[in-house]
């Protein structure tokens, strides 16, 4: 069984993640997930690939803290977070978040909170590789 929080180069399977999430309890009535994918276009520029760099140990600790906080805050049964690093191309998976709860409202709220908060707190950086050069992405405040 893979860990519920991971940073990895390789792709992941939603089916595997959901199966692992469900193993925790058959009292889970609603699972909300978010899958972030690489787009071939960003703010008017064509993007050939996206490269991710992470402060692995801190990023993993922050993602685990996020999971713990989401479970407690939204009363989840369980949650999983996977983020890829290295280079991905248009259509590839980047990040997957799943929140399992007894009912759907908590699952949706928690899933959304986790992806929003991951972007704020987890030390990962994205570089867009375009035909006219590479550029690190600076998030808007």
């Amino acid at each position: 069984m893979k860990a519920p929080v991971r940073i990895q180069e390789e792709d992941f399977s939603q089916d595997d993640e959901i199966a692992a999430l469900k193993l925790v309890s058959v009292r889970m009535g609603g699972i909300a997930t978010f899958l972030g994918c690489a787009r071939d276009f960003s703010e008017g520029r064509e993007v050939s690939a996206i490269s991710f760099d992470a402060y692995d140990s801190m990023a993993l600790a922050e993602m685990n803290a996020l999971r713990d906080e989401a479970i407690k805050r939204f009363g989840l049964i369980d949650a999983r977070l996977v983020h890829r690093v290295g280079t991905v191309h248009g259509g590839d998976n980047i990040v997957f978040i799943a929140a399992g709860a007894e009912h759907r409202a908590e699952a949706f709220d928690a899933c959304r909170w986790m992806i929003d908060t991951l972007k704020e707190r987890v030390p990962i950086w994205k570089k867009e590789i375009t035909p006219t050069g590479d550029a690190w992405v600076v998030p808007h405040p």
């Binding site: 983020h83 991951l118 030390p123 990962i124 950086w125 690190w136």
Partner: protein, 79 residues
Amino acid sequence: MITLLFFGPVADSVGQRRIEIEFSSGLRLGILRQQFAQDYPEAVRWVSFVAVNGVQARDDDIQIVDGSEIAFMAKFSGG
């Protein structure tokens, strides 16, 4: 020894992912920050956060102990 860590745009700008420096007693975060800004004026423009041993640190008065890992980090853009 103190290890300075760089990632993403900061690493590109510094040209390295880690630098080891001698520990000196009484070392505080503010001193490391100033030194970094002096040595890498281009890279420092990217820096929005500093982490000491994996925990974000905002107070320049923080005492740095021997063996610490200090990360100078740009704004996060994961997800």
